[in-house]
Amino acid sequence: MSAISEFSCESCGSLVQVEAHLRTAACPYCASPAVIERPLEAGRPAPLFVLGFVVPHERALAEARRWIRRRWFVPEALRKAKVESIRGIYVPSYLFSAAADASYTAQIGENYTETYTTTNSKGQTVTRTRTRTEWRSLSGRYAAYVSDIVVTASRGISNHELEGVEPFDLRALHRYTPRLLSGWIAEEASLPAEQCRELAVSESMTEIQRRVAAHLPGDKQRNLQVQAHLNDIEQELLLVPVYVLPVRYGDDEVVRILVNGQTAKVHSKLPRSWTKITVIIILVVILAAIGGYLATRS
């Protein structure tokens, strides 16, 4: 696989270069959009589905600005930084589904009320009731389909970041066609499929654990152990719409904000301003001390 592809623009004849990790390009002279269809290679699967952008650039930018201004504990330079640059990218991800067959064991807490006698503050013997929990063992099986698991296939955007802007509305799924990418940046899958599968299996196991916990009877539960097998596994490459906004602040520091191109949900891992946090803690301590002083005086 060559690092860079070259082709002549159909409109103006200029030579256009496309990096190997991208699927789309635009002629730098006449802005004609093009989509590159590469032959299948190991480690570079073809996308099967696309979720189109629904949120316009302007709204994504406005949502990102609003979101960052509401983050009180980030450095002030970052809160006031200009958020101007925005790029809509079709990020490669895998859409994963399977049939889950799980067995589980858990301790189920069943509440009951008991009466007891005690001595009150006046030294009198009184009868009272209290709720106690009786713990019982339960084991069982749980079977269900796990679908709609989306994990990143991009080295550029981590799965944690993608989870931050999920969920995507999969009802709006389109069968892949280059037409949907034209004029936008689209990345090729860059993570190995096996690595993505491990991520998806891990997410599925978390989902099954959550579902089994909600499935259990009783008033309380503890020591839940779930052993799940995933059968009929399928993962297909899906391009999801994400806006990426690099924000520069302070001494040339950069943070990256992601905006879901369907729902405008914003996510970023922002640095904290320890100065602000320290000031708040000191204020709280001073207020608590004043409150304590007034309480003891009264």
Binding site: P39, A46, Y112, R211
Partner: protein
């Protein structure tokens, strides 16, 4: 525009064996991708997307949510999951006439019990009688049901003990009403007597006969069927929980071979008057013994029973004090 999908039947889903319909990109039951014709390139290919109409460059447009020509505003088609409005595929015929329906309704009025007026059956005057076809889905599914619940069996200090299990169930011909004109309770009450094997083509529209249409789309229909499947599994699971008392029953379903038909069901809607007040009854169009509706109560009879109970209580109290 791309050519319309072939009407030929599609292969069922490879994972859950449920039928796949034209326009589905994924199986609606288990989420498996529907098969796609492979058209992979063997060499690198650059595609410049041009408008079919004017030849200008085409880009994906956020507002149109489709590829759009920047010059002439033409919007290009892309393959998406289809979500057409549901239509009844077959209708069951009427097997009783309006006179039999009226007689069925009168017979029903006589079965409503002591608290109804004595002359209800004879004094009710039938007003309007309207034949209609109401619509609904009928589904079959093989389901692996996982259940968990508390019951009194095995309880110690607490009144409850946890239980869990897993069973295979074959749901057959489960009806999911989708009628706008009839309530869910009315449809459910008369649904037992329909002979599903008698289904035929759509009836010819006739004056005075109402032929209902589904007013939901395919996605909403599938949700209604999935909800009914879970309710049916929950109702079935009540039989599996040991003991006579239970709480916190939860079920999870793994359906296979979930298939459904969209049908029209015949019924008569009758309006009748009793002492000037209007009431309504619905009669199954194939079995006149299946009737549901509302009917008046006899205030005199209810008062007499209350008076009798009060008198008995008074006598008991009197005797106990003496």
């Amino acid at each position: 525009m791309q050519p319309a999908a072939s009407p030929a039947a599609l292969d069922p889903c490879n994972r859950c064996s449920s039928p796949v319909e034209h326009g589905d990109l994924r199986c609606a039951v288990c989420g498996l991708t529907t098969p796609v014709v492979e058209s992979r390139t063997s060499a690198e290919k650059i595609e410049f997307l041009r408008c079919d109409g004017c030849g200008a460059a085409v880009s994906y447009d956020v507002k149109a949510q489709a590829p759009k020509c920047s010059f002439c505003d033409s919007v290009m088609h892309v393959e998406s999951p289809e979500d057409p409005a549901e239509e009844a595929g077959a209708y069951l015929p009427f097997q009783i006439d309006s006179q039999a329906a009226t007689e069925g309704m009168r017979a029903w009025l006589g079965t409503l019990g002591f608290f109804r007026p004595k002359d209800l059956q004879t004094s009710a005057t039938v007003g309007e009688l309207k034949p209609l076809w109401w619509v609904g889905w009928v589904f079959d599914a093989e389901v692996l049901v996982s259940w968990a619940a508390d019951s009194e069996v095995g309880s110690r200090r607490s009144r409850w003990a946890p239980h869990a299990g897993q069973q295979h169930v074959h749901f057959q011909r489960i009806l999911v009403p989708a009628s706008r004109g009839l309530s869910l309770d009315e449809c459910t009450a008369i649904s037992g007597g329909y002979q599903l094997a008698t289904q035929g083509p759509p009836p010819q529209p006739q004056p005075g006969t109402l032929i209902e249409r589904f007013d939901v789309q395919r996605s909403a229909a599938r949700k209604a069927i999935a909800d009914t499947l879970t309710r049916a599994a929950t109702a079935q699971a009540k039989d599996w929980v040991p003991g006579s008392r239970m709480r916190k029953l939860k079920v999870a379903v793994l359906p296979k071979r979930l298939s459904s038909d969209r049908l029209g069901f015949p019924a008569y809607v009758l309006a009748y008057r009793y002492h000037g007040k209007l009431y309504r009854a619905v009669v199954n169009g194939q079995d006149a013994s299946l009737v549901v509706g509302n009917a008046p109560y006899s205030i005199g009879r209810i008062a007499a029973v209350i008076g009798l109970i009060a008198a008995i209580i008074a006598i008991i109290l009197l005797l106990s004090t003496r």
